[in-house]
Each structure stands twice: as structure tokens, then as C-alpha cells.
């Protein structure tokens, strides 16, 4: 579709960079198109094949963690919002109609409401038209027990209104955690406690053999020791992984480890899986939207390369290009995102070698900004002390991206930037939820899939804000 569009474009503009004058000069009405964006085609979706089951899976997977709410947007913007089931049904219908057949949910998504909504929407379609992926999402030590986990799985089947699950994941393997007493656990310790010591993994393998779980895999966040161990088990034949879900995008490809030493570059993760012929399911192709919202100079750079593509298209093309990628998940709240993504993958135009180099250059540009790698997944929330962590990071990053972060008191821009930072912070976060109220209890640290040292970052922002407040010009002091 992109090609056709571009061909039209080239036809109209004579295949050269011709400006508005040329457009005005173009008088042949037959050659004009009325719109640049057209309905995505229904039958062009790129499909990937699961080597074991032969499932033909759409390259675009629907992530059910950002479902629309009636208040507008998703629960990220309206934590107390009401799920807009009607809108979900429409979008799911549209997706299935356009070849999307992989739906990824979890008992934890949308404050526990995602599976129900997904079940309602999918139940209206024949069972062989879609694959369901859900997870064992026991983040709270209270649900780590064998019985509680069994109950969670049973509950998933019930809410999703299905007899079997196509893809089941151990949720967040590698994430550090805390035990019931609040004692910190490393990623490996947490994995042991959650899935091994209670015999849960063996029980899941049983369900797999019984056909209740068609594919068993895990989603990986964080501690690379866990990733390596699980793959070693695979090699040793102890457990078999039908698929693995990893974070992959052009920024994490080479920079995940540079941005945060606790994380692992996607290139390593993908290659390890690829070697073993394990299909990868891709999460965070857009880094929670961060790669769709890059600073203006970077947008310009990307646009000048492919003027008709938006920046998100680049990220999806990148994530879909490696051939052992089974599907790329996107949490689509809005219909236009769904349409955009279907267009990108109907069919996929793989990233060329030159384009790949170009994206690596873009990744370096983004890395050099030194933003906080928060993609507002809200897993850290609620903070027991009421801090609005994602909003604070988001405002800080926004100031960086817009080049408004004040540094030098002597600079001419300082006054304007100081005002933007302080006023913007008060607008986006009520004062009693700002960084200076963070006591550093560390409750959030283990929840962050990006493994950000949240209290440290909050304290840095607090000190930064405090210095700004104290260093104003006289008439602007009272901000």
C-alpha cells in the first residue's frame, strides 16, 4: 500500500522534488488524487508461520493493555475510566476483518478488566479466526501460590470465554520483586519463587500436553541471567519454549544496555532466539509511544527520508523486518492507530540495509538526548505515597525533547525555559504528587519493566526543580 501511495505521489509530482509552484502548474485534473490516505486493504496483511503449530499469525498483533475508555484515551489518562466496550468491539471487528488474528491480554491489564473486555469482543467471532495470548501475571506475592496461580489461569479461560489458550506466557520473567515481607528479590529469585518452587511451570507443561495451552512461552523483562537460564533449559530439553516475548525496537536494538546497564540489547535477545528457531513476539515496538513522539529535528530527519510515512511507521517496519518475528504487538487505543498499523503491515515493506543504518543513526540521536527511558506503562503505580511517577517523568522528558530544559542561568533562554519547566510541572502534576514528596521507599523499583531506578531519578528531578525555583529572576520568583 505504501508503494502504491508513493507511486501515485511520484506520478503526480513528476518523480522529482517539486514544490508548490509545480503543483499549481499541474493542470491535469485526472492525475490528481483527492486524498493521500486511503482505507487499508483487507487481504494484504503479512502473515508469519509458527514453525511448530503451523499457525499463520498476522504480523500485527493487537495488544489489549491500552483499551479505550469512555472518558477518552485509555486508562493511562483516566485511571478511573470506564472501558468503552462498544469501541473495543468495533476495533476488534475491524482488525479481524483486516487480517489481524493475534490478541494479547493479561489478567493485570487495564486494572484487571482487559481479559473480560477481550473475551466479550472476541466471543462474537468464530474461535478459529483468532489466537489468544494471555499470561500468568502474578506480580503480587499474594498470588504466587500454586492454587492462586491455578485459579488465575482458570479465571482467564472463563473471562476470555474459551476452552483453551493459544499462547500462554509466564509474565515478566526476569523482573526483580519483593517477597511477602517486602524483602527484595533478584530476577532469578523471583522467577524461582513464582514459577518453579511451587511446581507451577510443571503444571503448565501438563496443561500444554492436555491441549489447554497450545503454545507455552514467557515474556522477558530485565535480568539477563533469567533469559539465559530459561534458554539453557530449552537446550537441555528440560523445558521447551514455543515462543518468547521480547522488547524490540530500533532504540533497544543496540542501546538498551547503554541507556540502562541493567537491561539487555534487543539484538542479543533476538539472535539467541533466532539461533534456536524460537519465534519472537515483539512488545514495545514503539517504546510505549516514545518512538512515535520524538523531538522535531528527528521527525524532520525521518520525514525527509520518507515524507509520507509517519515516524511510528518506521518503528513498526523495523520491528517486523526480522524474519523470526511472529507478531508485533501494539496497544492500539484509537482506530486511526489501528488503521495506520494495518497499512504498515499490509504488506510489510522490510527495512533495507541502508534504512537500517539510518535508523541506527536515529537511535543514537534519541539516545544522546538522555531522557528517562520511561514509557508510562504505569506498572510502578500506584505509588503508596501518591507520587504521580509517569507524569513527572513525562514532563521532564517533554522538556528535554522540546529543548526547554534550562541549564545555564546566564543563557538568554533561561527565564523562558524556567517558566516552562515549573509551570508545566504544576500543570501536569498536582503539587502534592510531585517529586519532592518521594521518600525513596523503593516500592516502585521492582515494578518497572524498563528497570529505571525510579527514586534516584525522582530525587534528581527534585533537586533540579528546587534549584530552578531558587534561581529565578526577582519578578518570576513566585512560581
Amino acid at each position: 500500500m505504501k508503494k502504491i501511495n508513493r507511486r501515485d505521489f511520484l506520478k503526480i509530482f513528476g518523480g522529482a522534488a517539486i514544490g508548490a509552484t509545480a503543483l499549481a502548474a499541474c493542470t491535469d485534473d485526472k492525475e490528481r488524487t483527492t486524498a493521500a490516505i486511503v482505507e487499508p486493504p483487507k487481504d494484504k496483511m503479512t502473515m508469519r508461520v509458527n514453525p511448530k503449530t503451523g499457525d499463520k499469525v498476522s504480523l500485527l498483533g493487537y495488544g489489549m493493555m491500552r483499551l479505550p475508555v469512555k472518558e477518552g484515551g485509555s486508562m493511562r489518562e483516566h485511571p478511573d475510566g470506564t472501558i468503552d466496550q462498544e469501541m473495543i468491539n468495533r476495533q476488534v471487528d475491524y482488525a479481524i476483518d483486516h487480517g489481524v488474528n493475534y490478541f494479547d491480554t493479561s489478567p493485570a491489564y487495564c486494572q484487571g478488566l482487559s481479559e473480560t473486555a477481550t473475551g466479550i469482543a472476541l466471543h462474537r467471532h468464530p474461535r478459529d479466526k483468532y489466537f489468544i495470548a494471555t499470561k500468568l501475571s502474578n506480580f503480587s506475592p499474594a498470588t504466587w501460590g500454586f492454587d492462586a496461580s491455578k485459579e488465575m489461569f482458570g479465571n482467564s479461560l472463563k473471562l476470555l470465554q474459551v476452552d483453551y489458550v493459544d499462547y500462554l506466557l509466564l509474565h515478566g520473567a526476569g523482573m526483580p520483586s519483593q517477597d511477602a515481607e517486602g524483602k527484595p528479590l533478584s530476577g532469578m529469585e523471583a522467577f524461582q519463587l513464582r514459577y518453579m518452587d511451587n511446581g507451577l511451570l510443571d503444571w503448565l507443561v501438563e496443561q500444554h500436553d492436555k491441549g489447554l495451552i497450545r503454545n507455552l512461552g514467557f515474556s522477558y523483562h530485565g535480568d539477563v541471567e533469567v533469559f539465559d537460564t530459561l534458554l539453557r533449559w530449552h537446550d537441555e530439553g528440560k523445558y521447551h519454549w514455543d515462543f518468547v516475548q521480547i522488547e524490540l525496537n530500533y532504540l533497544d536494538w543496540n542501546y538498551a544496555n547503554e541507556i540502562n546497564p541493567r537491561n539487555t540489547d534487543a539484538v542479543y535477545l533476538y539472535n539467541e532466539l533466532s539461533k534456536r528457531n524460537i519465534p519472537s513476539v515483539i512488545m514495545e515496538p514503539l517504546l510505549g509511544g516514545r518512538l512515535a513522539n520524538v523531538p522535531d529535528p528527528i521527525v524532520a530527519k525521518m520525514k525527509s527520508r520518507r515524507p509520507e510515512d509517519n515516524v511510528a511507521t518506521w518503528a513498526f517496519r523495523f520491528a517486523g523486518t526480522p524474519e523470526k518475528v511472529l507478531t508485533v504487538l501494539s496497544g492500539m487505543t484509537y482506530m486511526e492507530h489501528l488503521k495506520d498499523n494495518i497499512r504498515t503491515y499490509s504488506p510489510l515493506e522490510p527495512v533495507t540495509k541502508e534504512e537500517n543504518d539510518f535508523l541506527m543513526e536515529i537511535a543514537k540521536d534519541i539516545y544522546d538526548l538522555k531522557t528517562i527511558p520511561c514509557n508510562e506503562c504505569n506498572y510502578c503505580m500506584p505509588c503508596p505515597y501518591g507520587i504521580d511517577i509517569p507524569s513527572i517523568f513525562s514532563h521532564y522528558n517533554k522538556m528535554i525533547k522540546e529543548g526547554l530544559l534550562p541549564h545555564n542561568k546566564q543563557s538568554e533562554e533561561y527565564r523562558k525555559q524556567r517558566r516552562a519547566f515549573l509551570v508545566g510541572m504544576d500543570r501536569s502534576v498536582p503539587r502534592l504528587r510531585q517529586a519532592n514528596h518521594c521518600i525513596g521507599c523503593g516500592h516502585c523499583v521492582t515494578h518497572c519493566p524498563q528497570r529505571i531506578n525510579i527514586p534516584k531519578e525522582l530525587h534528581t528531578i527534585d533537586v533540579f526543580t528546587e534549584n530552578l525555583k531558587r534561581n529565578g529572576q526577582v519578578e518570576e520568583m513566585a512560581l
Binding site: 501518591g386 504544576d426 500543570r427 525513596g440 531558587r470 513566585a478
Partner: protein, 499 residues
Amino acid sequence: MLKKLRIALATVMMTLVTLLLLDFTGMLHRWLGWVAKIQFLPALLALNVVVVIVLVTLTLLFGRIYCSVICPLGILQDLIAFRPRKKNRYAYSPAKKWLRYSVLAIFVVALIIGVNSLVALLAPYSSYGRIVQNMFQPIAIWINNLCSNIADHYGSYAFHPHEVWMRSLPTFIIAVATFAVIAVLAWRGGRTYCNTICPVGTLLGFFSRISLFRVQFDADKCRQCGKCEHNCKASAIDFKAMDIDLSRCVVCGNCVEQCNFDALHYKMVSTRKVQPAVSAPDNTASGTPADTSRRSFLVGAAIATASIAMAQDKKKVDGGLADVEDKLIPERQTPITPPGSRSAANMRTRCTGCQLCVSKCPNGVLRPSTGLLTLMQPTMSYERGYCRPECHTCSEVCPTGAIQPISLPQKSSTQIGHAVWIKKNCLPVANGTPCGNCARHCPAGAITMVPLDAADNTSPMVPAVNEARCIGCGACENLCPARPFSAIYVEGHEVHKEI
């Protein structure tokens, strides 16, 4: 001519005073601060001799022009009484001397013995300040917040959102009641309040009685039509006697302009006396007693802020905001007064409760006191913010000298109180959570974290306050995670100290 000049000056003055009182951005007082400082009573309390002498001299020369063009409460009454289609609605009434002088006497006694709540209640400029701060500033802030939302939409940082909150219910009620009384009196009888209750009006009346310039009858020209009397909002003209009560005349110029026969002139006093005729007192505009029982039934609805109620569910992992309980005011043995006020006594005897400092405080610290003797005077508390090191706005705006100018370095070494630790509330003690937020934010570096048990280095770290370094700014109290009562709070000092 006299009237036009008066209206022009009054308009300018009213606009400036109102802007000064409405402003919550902390930008205007640098240019407009003087309009509060030339008010009579504040100048008197600030011992601002120059202003007092100028005002008295002005009155001796020109009569009570102060009441017509400088006092915002006076101008407010003219605004309320302005009913162009209802002419000839006033009539002469003799001065209510007994009431006027008793109020003045009570006022002076209250001032001397330090019952300042009464002083604050009667002070005209302060009454206007309270009305604006309590009734109109919230509207201004709401408009600002609306603009802020719109500006946000367009990526502009021109407007800074501010919170609207009720600082003190009694003061709010007093402000609304004062406004109601003033409005009713002015609507019905023009300057009744100025000439029966206002102590400044009565005091200036002594001087205006002998003013050099005054409105005078020309007996040769006067046809006794009575138009002047019926348009005198001070009820000071007795046309039959051709007499003007100069102690009540506020030199508005209405009579001069109304007279069709050119019989009234504002000019230098002449020795020629007009023979007074006996006149029947006509009492139409009598002062109604203050309706202090007026309820502020709007209060709750208007200022109520929505609280976030969100139960914290263990299994919820993606999102939601935990409820943050509002902080409550601790029971302080000694109230805290702002840096620059020097002592509780200085504050008590000089402040007239105009709320200018309260309306300016950008950190939500100042609010009117509810104590009987200090009613409406500012006091500090740290539930919403603390006295930040870069701010000394209140000391810049205070017109009465209750809060005297204090530089930022001076402020940072002025002890207005000291922090007190409440072991029971402290998080590390209560549930072992490491904290130290107070120590991390103390601008004076007066807090050190020490082990609870000196013999055991692994015991929870708790704050130790060096009282000698603490300045009482309240950063620790405000940022303490313990709610509703902080685990560290500031106890005020009667007399401020340099440290």
C-alpha cells in the same frame, strides 16, 4: 469639573487597589505596592509619618477627598450607590454623633489595649481587602486557570495554574457579611457607612470641618430648590438652612454639578456666613445594624475541592493514583508569624487584617488567624507548602509594618520557630520504611538522620533537629510523608531571633 476629576482619580485608584489585591502572580506589587501604603490607617500603624501628615494636610486643605478618591471602600460604596435613573433620592439627616464618636472611641481604645480583631473589623481599607481576597480573587484565579488550560492546549506557558482554597471560614464569613452590610447601606443611603461607622471617616471629619477649600452656598443665587440636598449621598446638605456638614462631606462634587442656579461652589473658605434656618430633620437613610448572622451557605460548594478516592488494590499493577490524605493543622502552642513580623506582639498590634499578604503568598502558607485577639491577622501553616527560601513577598507588600521588609539573606537567618519531632508518627519508627525526606529538604541543613537506638547502627534512621540552626520554614513539616499529622512540625516563637 470637581466631579469629573473626582471620578477620574477614583477610577484609577480603585483599579490599582483592586489589581493589587487580586494579583496572585507576585508580579504587580512591585509597581502597585504604594497604593496600599498610602491608606490612612495602615500608614498610621506603620508609623509612616510622611503619609499621615500628607493625608491630614490634604484633608485640612481640601476636605475629605481621601474618602472619595483614595479609600477603596469609599469608592466601592459610590459604585454600589450609582443609580443614574434614580435621582433625588437622598435627604438631609443630622449626624449620628453619638454613634460616630462611640465607634471611634471604641476603635481607639481597642487599638491602644491591643484588641486588634476589632480594629481589623472596622478598618476600611482592610475591609475592602478582605472582600476582594475572599470574594473576587477566587474568581480571578478560576479565570486564570481556565486560561491556563487553554494556554496549555496551545503549548504556551503564559498562565500558571493556582489553587483556590478557603483559608479561614470566619474571615470569609466576615468578608461576605461586610460586603452585604456595605452594599445594603450604600444602595439605600449612599455614604451611611462612612459617616456613621468608619473610624477613619469620623477622624478625618474633625479636620475637614475646618478645611480651607469647601463647598459653599451662594445665598444670593440659591432658590431653595433642594436639588443639592436630594443628591447628596452623604446626607450632609441642609438646603433650608443652607448648611453643609463638612465633617461628613466627602467632596464628591455632585451638588455643585446638580445645582441649576450656580449657587454652590467649591472654593476657598470665605468669612461670609449664611444665616442658618431651622430645619426639620428628615431621617430617611438610617444605618441598619450589621447583619452578622448572614450565613455563608455557598462556602462549602464553592471552595470544595474534589478529593481523589482510589482504593489501593494489591493486585492492581498498572496504574491508578493512591489517595493522598490531606494534612491537618497540628496544635501549635505558639502560632507562627512570617519572617519580618519580628514578634507576635508586633503583628498583633499593627496588622489590620487587609489580607494583602494572604492573597499574595504563593506557597499557600499564610492564612487569616481564627484566634479571638488576632482574628483575620495572618498566621502560618504548612499543609500546602512551606515558606520557601526565595520568597519574601509578604514582607514587601505589608502596608502597616506588621511584616517589615526583610531581605532574603536576612530571612534565611531569622528563626521564626523550630521543628519538633513526633516519634510516634515517624515512618521509620512506625513501620520501618526508610525515609529522611525532611533531612533531604531542610534548607538550613538543621536535620541529621541518626539511628533510633544509638547503640544499634542498624536501627531505623530518624531525624535529629539542631534547634539552633532551624529557622522554622516548615519544609520538613510539609514534605513529611506522615498524614494527616506530620511527624515533624514547627512550633512558633513569640519573638523572632537572628541565628
